[in-house]
Symmetry: C2
Subunit: 291 residues, 2 copies
DNA sequence: CGCAGATTTGAGGGATCTCAAAAGGGGTGG
DNA sequence: CCACCCCTTTTGAGATCCCTCAAATCTGCG
């Protein structure tokens, strides 16, 4: 009875583009439709299992604040949200962005107090329920438990992707990746990705990506000049004519030597065929132990 | 019967130093002893609830690899581990470090395949059990479930701390924070923090912190020159004579205006609770909505 | 003892930041 | 409806931090 109530665990093979690049676009659209359907379905099931408090929010509304007692978990039903960490000395950092179907509040479980601010950056709706209610529902319904764990796991993986981006990509590539990420998040929720409204200022984007607002602006201008993006009316809305071209642009920056063959599955463990000198130096392995 | 089997949820108020700065050192030591005791206790309880497969590892041993089917969760009983993410284009990133009591493998839950490599960087011991076993144990034992969630939550918070560090601190401050973090992790596990063996090459540290190995080396040399750290024999072992002085050093860099005496790292007592003038520009809040 | 890898240190260059000025956009009140 | 104001964005010029390249030193080990 606790079987696949929530959607199966790895329903998105297309998320990792297979070797066949040609039909990627179609595959991508199919995957997005599937993802969108799944998110809606999960939300519906979730709300049938747990009695939520629903709240409509507007841009700037705060869902929870750093230091507040952790009492509830929140799920985005609509809109966009940012999570902002801050240090005692006044540094602030946008650490995550949240979209429909995403959970907010996991950061509070560890210490019993929320570790960041959750702020709406558009009108939307949040569903909330006390942590204990989830816990109780989880023990009844294994599917819900697995859903919860998957959400936390996704968050961990995504956070690390951010770190990877910030640590290994130059500014313009980070902006390009950010745009791809944003478009992908929209697409997987059934939202149109042409004329995306970014909903964040250059300052917020720059903060999220670890650069100044001026660098964001310059990067966007450069991407526009290279025809990889196009602005709409007010420079707050952006179009990605060709997401793959953006990806190739990033590849070109990362590995200036290697040609455009982006779709290499995974045979590279450097030493073998070192054609693509990764411009990112591999981490020297000390004491590789076993020969 | 599912009550406080695992240690209570927020047992470390001292981790957030209160307004009284003076007795911080004692409070810190007490907190570390407490944390150490708790970690040992949790491990003992864990192993009484779940039948683990135990494995002794040596530096360089791989616990799991990117792309491998996610089958089990792992818990560090001894030693030190790094988690390394990699991209298809060959970039590598140390995304996390793991110590006794930490879990490894959460990244695999979301997609059903591990999303990074887990590699030992010292001899140690790992306890492993299939995910399903944990899940089963969790439904029997609510305390275990909460313990698991706290571990995942801690990981999320820590990952975001890393992002904060990389995005908002200059190189030398990142290195200083890294040393403090490492010392703190050791202290909370009852390990001595004088003559810490870093167990990572400069290249690995630099990768983790988003800088080159040369920058790490220069930063360490500078910290040494300012008497904030001291090297032992082989420059792989480091001593932090005064962790608070290191923290003040970081503060001085972040908010140059706040601390007057920039030259002397010595007897300048940190101003009360420095909620300093953020030299880091705050994120411009668009549409602050409600008046 | 010599080698291989790790580390340090220096010099120069480049990417990004800082500072500054001007243009654009949207909302409000007159 | 328009003027005005405030915020955001763009763009330029110079400064700076960090990276790249290079060479020397150090360490552990076979």
């Amino acid at each position: 009875m606790n079987a696949p109530l929530f959607s199966a665990r790895r329903p998105l093979p297309a998320a990792r583009p297979g070797p066949a690049e040609a039909r990627d676009a179609e595959g991508h659209f199919a995957a997005c439709r599937e993802a969108s359907r799944r998110i809606s379905q999960d939300l519906a099931l979730l709300s049938s299992k747990v009695k939520f408090q629903r709240r409509v929010v507007r841009s700037g509304d705060v869902i929870y604040r750093t230091g507040e007692a952790f009492n509830a978990l929140h799920i985005v039903n609509a809109g966009f949200f940012k999570l902002v960490s801050s240090t005692r000395d006044g540094r602030e950092q946008v650490v995550a962005l949240k979209f429909r179907g995403d959970w907010m509040g996991f950061d509070g479980i560890a210490s019993g107090a929320f570790a960041c601010d959750a702020v709406a950056i558009d009108t939307g709706e949040v569903w909330s329920a006390p942590y204990g209610v989830f816990l109780g529902a989880c023990t009844d319904e294994l599917g819900l438990l697995m859903h919860l764990h998957e959400a936390m796991s996704r968050e961990i993986v995504r956070d690390r992707d951010s770190l990877m981006s910030v640590c290994t990509l130059p500014a313009v590539a980070r902006v390009a990746e950010f745009l791809r990420y944003w478009a992908d998040c929209l697409a997987r929720r059934g939202l149109r990705t042409d004329q995306m409204a970014l909903r964040m200022t250059r300052a917020e984007i720059g903060n999220y990506l670890g650069m100044t607002l001026e660098s964001v602006s310059r990067s966007l201008s450069r991407l526009e000049k290279e025809r990889l993006i196009a602005f709409d009316r007010n420079r707050r809305e952006v179009t990605l004519p060709d997401a793959q071209a953006l990806a190739r642009f990033v590849q070109r920056i990362v590995a200036p030597g290697a040609a455009a063959d982006a779709g290499r599955p995974r045979d590279e463990t450097a030493p073998g065929c070192v054609d693509a000198q990764p411009s990112a130096r591999p981490i020297a392995a000390r004491s590789s132990s076993r020969v």
